[in-house]
Amino acid sequence: MSRWRKAASSWMLLRLPRQQQLVLGQSRIYLLPTPFGWGLLLVAWAVWIGALNYAVSLAYVLSFWIVSLVLIAVVLAYRQLAGLAIRCGAADDVVAGSHALFPLQLQWPEEEPRLLHLGWHDEAGGMALDRPGEVLLPRLTLQRGQMTIPPLRVYSESPLGLVRAFAYLRLQAQVCVYPQPCADERAAASLPDGGQSREAQPVPGELFSHLVAWQPELGARRIAWKAYARRGVLLARRFEEPQAARSTCLLEWSAYPAQMAAEARLSRLCWQLLAAGRRGEDVVLRLPQQELRLTAGEVRPGLRALAGFGVRDAQ
C-alpha cells in the first residue's frame, strides 16, 4: 500500500464512529472493480473495436454483454454486504505477545448465499465465511494494556469476481492485555501468618459455613433451596475455609531495583502473580497508589491492575 493510500484510509477510518453493533448499508459499502473487472472491460473494449471495424453486430452483443456484466456485478457485490449485521462479543484476556481472539458475530438472512472475507483493515486477505455465525479473529497483541479492537475490513467479490464490495468497521470491543510474564528468580516475600496488618478473615472456601441473605451477584447455584422451602426466604450458603492453613504472598512494586524499567517490573510482577495463583496463595499486590488483596486463585483483578497500570489504552 502506498503512503498516500495509507494516509487516506487512516483518515477515513478515523471518521468512522465506534459502534457496538452495526448493519451495513449503502453509506458504508464501497465498490470498486477488481483487476479482473478492469481486465474484462479491456476485453470488451477490444471486442467493441473489432465489431466497429468488421461491422459484426453479434460482436457488439458480446461486447455490451461483458460491459453489462461488469456493471451488474456492482449491484451483485453490493448485495453480498448489504444488510450484514456485525457485532463483537467479549474477548478473553490475553498476555502481551500472544494473539487476542475477537469473537465476531455476522448475521444475515440464511436464505441468501453469500461469500464474505473478514479481516483486519491493515492485513491482506481474511477469513472466508459462507454462512452466518461467529468467527474468532486473532490479532497479535504487542503491548500490555487495554486493546481496542482494530478496524475491520469485510469484503466480498462474489459472485463474479469482477467488483469488490468492501466496508471498514470500527467496533466497540476491548480486550485486556496482561504484561508479558518474565521469570523472576527471587522468591516472593510472604506476609507472616496473622500479621499485624490485618485481622484473621474468613476466606471463601469449600466447606459449608453458614447461611447469609442471598443477593443476585451470588448466583443461583448458591441459593439454599431447602431453607427456601422451609422458610420462604432466599438464603445463600456460604462456604469458607479455615484461613490458617494458607500463606499470603506479598508482591511489591518497590521490591525491585530502582533503575528497573516499569515494564520489566510489571512483567516480573505478572510472573509472580501467576505463580502465586497456581500455588493457590493469597496475594497482596502493592503498586504505586494502589494495593490489592487477592484471595487464593483469584488473580484476575491483579492481572488487570497490572495491565492497566499507568496506561489507559493501547493499540
Binding site: 453486430s57 453489462s68 462474489s158
Partner: protein, 661 residues
C-alpha cells in the same frame, strides 16, 4: 460450502474449448485441434497435480506451430491468420497459468475468443452458440470467484440474465460507424454459393444442387409474380468459344425513368458477388449505399467492401429496356470467335433468310424450341466446340448451355447479344413475407438488342417453361429440398418448420445482423429522435435506462428472498389447502387437531395427510433437527401436490343450489 479451485480450473479450460469449437469450420482444422489438445494437456496436468513445463520449453514449443501456421496460411494477421495465432498463443498461455490471477487472465482471453467465430458467421445458430459460450464462461468465472459449485450454474445464468436489458439498450443506442476503422478483412475465396466472374459450361450447374440461401428480398406494397423475378447480377459480353467473360466496352444504356406505373419497391439483403448486387430487372431507382452502373447493374458504392448489405431499390418488372448502341458497341456485341462453325453457319443462315430483325429473333426462338433439347443438371461432358457439341450432338444441358448457345446463334445471325447471369425465382416465405433466393435459383439468360432496346430472351424458358414458373427443384431432383439423412422429400410439417426457421433467420438477419449505422439512423428517426448524435443517444440511454434497467436495479437492491423456511412455508400451504377444501383448519392447530378436522376427506387423502403430518412432526422435533434439512424440500413439494377436492359441506351445497336456480 466453497468449491474446489481445481473444478474452476477445469471449467475455465472447458469453456475455452467450447467457445472456439465453431472455428473448426473456419480455420485449418489442425489449429483448433492443437488448441483443444493444449487445453486437454493442461487439464491433465491439473488432474495429476503435476509441475508445469518451464517457460523456455514453452517458447521453443511455440515456434513449430507458429511456423506451420505461417506456411499454411501465409499470414499471421488479418482474420484467419490473426484468429489462428491468437488461438495458439492462448493455448500456450494455458501452460503458464498457476495463480488465480493467471486463470482469470486466461478466462478473459476466453471472452475475447468468443468473438472470433462471429467474424466468420453471424447466423442464428452461431448466436445460440455465443449464448452457450457466454454461459459457460460466466459459469467458470463464478467458480473462480469461489461460489459453491452446486449454486454456480444458477448464479451464472442469473448474472447474464440481469445484464441482458442493459446489453440490449447499449446495442440499440450505441452509435455505429458507417465504415470500417481500417481495412476490411478479405473474404474467404471458397465461395460455394457465389457466382463466378465468367460463364463456362458447369459454372452455374455446380451451384444448383446447393440450397444455400443467397439473398433475401422484401417487397413493400405490390408483390411480384414469380415469372417477373429475374434477379440481374452480372453481364458477360465477350466469348472465346467456350467461356463468357465481362468485356470492357462501356454500355451507355439510359437509366429508366422513375415513376412509371407498376413500380415495385423492395429491399434486398445480400452479400456482393464480386462487387455486384442482385437487382430485379429493371431498376429505376437505387437507395443509399448502392449505385446503378452500366448495363443496368447495381454495385456497392464502396466496391471493395464485401460485407453483407441491405439496400432499397425500385424496379419496373419488364423484359426490355431502352439503350442506344454505337457502331463500335454493336460490333463488340456481334463478335464471335472462329470456333463453333456449325452454330455460326446456322445463325448466318437465319441472318440471310430474315431481313427483319424482329422476325429473325422469332425464327431463332422457334428453331431452338424445335431442336429437342433437354433440361438436365448432369449433361454429358462437352468436347471441342462446346456450343456445336451441345446444339447438334448432346442436346442436353441447362440454363448456361442454352444461354450460351442462343447468344452465339443471335450474334451469328447479326443480332447484338450478351449473357446475363443472376438468379431466377425464389421461395416466398408467407410467415415472414419475404422472398428467399437460394444458390439453386442461379440462372443465366440472354439479352438481344433489338430496335433500340435490350430485349430479354430466356432460352431455358423456351425449352423448359416450368423452370421459370415453378421452383427449380420440380425440374431437377438434385435441387430438391430433402430431409437430411433420410434423403426423402420432406413432409408438410417439416417444410413448415423449415419455413419458420427461415423466417426466424430472416428476422434475425434484418434486426440484429444488419443493425448498422443506416438502420440505427432510420430507427432513431422512426422514434422521433432525429439524427444519431450525442443528444439522441443520451436520450435513448436515459429513457431506456429508466424503463428497462432501473426497475431491475431497484428490484435487485431491495428484493429479499422469502424469509420463511420450507417447514414454515409448507405448513402454511398445507393449512391453506385444507381451508380451500372446506376444512376449518387454522395455522395454529397442532398436527393432531388438523388430522381430526380433516375427517371429512376421502380415506386416501386422509392417509396422505397423516403421512405428511407425521413426517412434519418427526423432522421438526427430532434430535438435532434443522430447517436446512434437505428432506424438507421434498416434503414441501409433496404438500404442493396435495390438493384435496372441495368437501360437499351442507352450507356450500345449499348456496350452490341457490345460484343454480
Amino acid at each position: 460450502m466453497r468449491s474446489e479451485p481445481r473444478l474452476a480450473h477445469f471449467a475455465v479450460l472447458a469453456a475455452l474449448a467450447l467457445t472456439v469449437l465453431p472455428l473448426f469450420l473456419q480455420l485449418p482444422p489442425w489449429v483448433p485441434l492443437l488448441f483443444a489438445l493444449q487445453l486437454g494437456g493442461r487439464a491433465w496436468l491439473a488432474w495429476q497435480d503435476r509441475q508445469l513445463p518451464h517457460r523456455v520449453w514453452l517458447l521453443l514449443a511455440m515456434i513449430v506451430p507458429v511456423l506451420l501456421l505461417w506456411l499454411s496460411l501465409r499470414t499471421l494477421v488479418g482474420r484467419e491468420g490473426g484468429v489462428a495465432l491468437l488461438l495458439l498463443l492462448t493455448g500456450f498461455k494455458a501452460f503458464e497459468t498457476v495463480t488465480l490471477r493467471d486463470w482469470r487472465v486466461l478466462l478473459g482471453l476466453g471472452f475475447f475468443l468468443a468473438a472470433t467465430p462471429l467474424l466468420f458467421d453471424q447466423s442464428l445458430p452461431s448466436a445460440l452458440w455465443l449464448l452457450l459460450s457466454l454461459f459457460v464462461l460466466t459459469w467458470a468465472m463464478v467458480l473462480l470467484a469461489g461460489v459453491d459449485s452446486a449454486a454456480s450454474p444458477r448464479a451464472a445464468a442469473l448474472a447474464l440474465l440481469y445484464a441482458m436489458p442493459l446489453m440490449l439498450l447499449l446495442f440499440v443506442a450505441m452509435p455505429r460507424l458507417p465504415g470500417p476503422l481500417w481495412s476490411m478483412p478479405t473474404m474467404d475465396q471458397r465461395a460455394t454459393s457465389g457466382l463466378s466472374d465468367s460463364l463456362a459450361p458447369g459454372s452455374i450447374g455446380q451451384m444448383i444442387p446447393s440450397r444455400e440461401p443467397a439473398f433475401t428480398a422484401q417487397f413493400r406494397g405490390r408483390q411480384p409474380v414469380r415469372e417477373q423475378l429475374y434477379w440481374r447480377v452480372m453481364v458477360f459480353d465477350r466469348f472465346d468459344g467456350a467461356r463468357w467473360t465481362a468485356g470492357s466496352v462501356p454500355d451507355s444504356g439510359a437509366a429508366l425513368a422513375s415513376g412509371a406505373a407498376g413500380e415495385l419497391s423492395y429491399s434486398i439483403t445480400a452479400t456482393p458477388f464480386k462487387g455486384a448486387l442482385p437487382v430485379l430487372e429493371h431498376a429505376v431507382w437505387a437507395g443509399e449505399g448502392v449505385q446503378q452502373v452500366a448495363a443496368q447493374l447495381l454495385r456497392r458504392i464502396d466496391a471493395r467492401n464485401e460485407a453483407r448489405l441491405r439496400y432499397d431499390v425500385r424496379s419496373v418488372a419488364q423484359a426490355a429496356y431502352p439503350a442506344a448502341l454505337s457502331a463500335e458497341q454493336r460490333d463488340h456485341y456481334l463478335q464471335l470467335p472462329a470456333a463453333n462453325l456449325r452454330t455460326r453457319q446456322q445463325g448466318e443462315f437465319f441472318g440471310r433468310q430474315f431481313r427483319d430483325e424482329a422476325g429473325r429473333l422469332v425464327a431463332l426462338r422457334a428453331w431452338l424450341q424445335q431442336q429437342g433439347l433437354r433440361y438436365t443438371l448432369s449433361p454429358p461432358l462437352l468436347q471441342g466446340d462446346v456450343v456445336d457439341d451441345f446444339l447438334f450432338s448432346s442436346r442436353q444441358g441447362f440454363c448456361e448451355h442454352f444461354a450460351s448457345a442462343f447468344a452465339t446463334l443471335a450474334r451469328a445471325a447479326g443480332l447484338p447479344a450478351r449473357i446475363v447471369v443472376g438468379f431466377q425465382g425464389g421461395e416466398f416465405n408467407t410467415g415472414g413475407q419475404f422472398w428467399l433466393v437460394r444458390s439453386s435459383d442461379a440462372h443465366a439468360w440472354t439479352e438481344v438488342w433489338l430496335q433500340g432496346h435490350w430485349q430479354r430472351v430466356d432460352p431455358t424458358a423456351l425449352v423448359a417453361p416450368s423452370r421459370v414458373v415453378s421452383e427449380v427443384g420440380e425440374l431437377v431432383p438434385e435441387a430438391q429440398a430433402v430431409v437430411p439423412v433420410l434423403g426423402r422429400r420432406p413432409p408438410a410439417w417439416w417444410r413448415s418448420a423449415h419455413a419458420q426457421w427461415q423466417r426466424a433467420g430472416f428476422v434475425w438477419q434484418q434486426w440484429v445482423v444488419d443493425y448498422d449505422a443506416r438502420r440505427q439512423q432510420s430507427l432513431f428517426q422512426r422514434l422521433g429522435l432525429g439524427r444519431v448524435g450525442v443528444g439522441s443517444v443520451m436520450t435513448v440511454l436515459l429513457l431506456g435506462g429508466v424503463v428497462l434497467v432501473l426497475p431491475l436495479l431497484l428490484w435487485l437492491l431491495w428484493r429479499r428472498p422469502p424469509p420463511r423456511s420450507y417447514p414454515v412455508r409448507g405448513w402454511q400451504l398445507l393449512v391453506l389447502r385444507l381451508q380451500q377444501a372446506g376444512v376449518a383448519a387454522q395455522a395454529s392447530d397442532t398436527p393432531a387437531q388438523l388430522r381430526d378436522k380433516a375427517k371429512g376427506l376421502a380415506p386416501s387423502l386422509q392417509q396422505q395427510l397423516a403421512r405428511l403430518l407425521a413426517d412434519w412432526q418427526q423432522w421438526r422435533y427430532a434430535e438435532g433437527a434443522t430447517d436446512a434439512d434437505p428432506r424438507w424440500r421434498g416434503w414441501w413439494w409433496q404438500v404442493r401436490h396435495f390438493r384435496p377436492p372441495r368437501l360437499a359441506a351442507s352450507g356450500f351445497s345449499a348456496s350452490g343450489k341457490a345460484t343454480m336456480d
